[in-house]
Symmetry: C2
Subunit: 185 residues, 2 copies
């Protein structure tokens, strides 16, 4: 067998582009992205993820989302059809106790959204670079919700390809046996 | 168009079973699960995710992982071929500053792993119920890494089907416009 087993195409083809076309994402396609997020796994099935979003069909709301991004992200993300931020609930709804998996599970939900996007010829690009306090205030995000990532979704500009510099650490530095730092694979 | 657009099968077929067969996961298949995690998106491409794992080929290490789970999870997870815990680095490697996306991105990586598993007829089941302090001590997890989720991966017992009670909140409670609580879809 080859050294590296093939990834499923929807995973292998996912990446984070910085150039989108202004092609409309049809409402039912958009909905399917959040359906993918919705069916993610979460601790105690709390489903702590929430999404604040706007599309280019809503210029005023879209601008509000654009306004919370840092300038370097505004530049390219302004092209995308959808902008959003993810939010993770920090408490369990059934007993009010702290849930340390709020952001963890919101991250998982965003990954599922990105996979579904990739399967439909779209790409989602997550961003840490946005003004969390401004987003909380502008969108009325309650105190028991933690800000996650901003994200842009759209059809990728045909001239845009994954950068040759797209790199990852080797598995040997990421997957250990029960002794920390000792490669398991 | 139908009310709910179809999810990609690798997402639609992912679930969290509690009954696995003891069928071996071939090393290259196992490796592909972590390849999927490896190519996840992360803030500044930090790749904060780490995995501590053991398979049934390594009875001693497998037992160590089983020992950190709470009894209710030990019962069913003992059948799985692989057990593991995810870990998220809490600082950026390039400047040592805090990275608030450690667990967020580890959650995303685990979701990618689960998607790849689902595409191969396997399932991954994440667990919050494990002893974090014991895991940190037993596996020598450094201070600047935060414990994420435990997880089991295996081939699903053919008699096991997704529970009829598998439920999620409606999209209307999860996806908002720029006004919190006001449904966007």
């Amino acid at each position: 067998m080859p050294e590296t087993v093939e990834l499923h195409p929807v995973i292998a083809h996912r990446w984070s582009p910085r150039a989108f076309t202004d092609e409309r994402i049809e409402p039912q396609v958009l909905r399917s992205l959040f359906e993918a997020a919705r069916w993610s796994a979460s601790c105690f099935n709390e489903q702590p993820w929430r999404f604040v979003i706007a599309t280019k069909d809503q210029p005023e709301e879209f601008q509000k989302l654009l306004d919370v991004l840092v300038p370097a992200n505004q530049q390219w993300a302004s092209q995308a059809w959808v902008l959003g931020v993810t939010v993770g609930k920090t408490t369990f709804t059934h007993n009010g106790k702290p849930n340390r998996y709020g952001l963890h599970d919101a991250g998982a939900a965003l990954a599922s959204l990105a996979t579904q996007a990739s399967s439909l010829g779209l790409q989602a690009h997550g961003m840490g670079g946005f003004h969390h306090d401004k987003a909380r205030e502008d969108f009325g995000i309650p105190e028991d919700y933690e800000l996650g990532a901003a994200f842009a979704v759209g059809y990728v500009d045909p001239g845009e390809v994954p950068p040759a510099t797209r790199t990852r650490k080797p598995l040997e530095e990421l997957v250990f046996g029960t002794e920390w730092g000792k490669a398991a694979l």
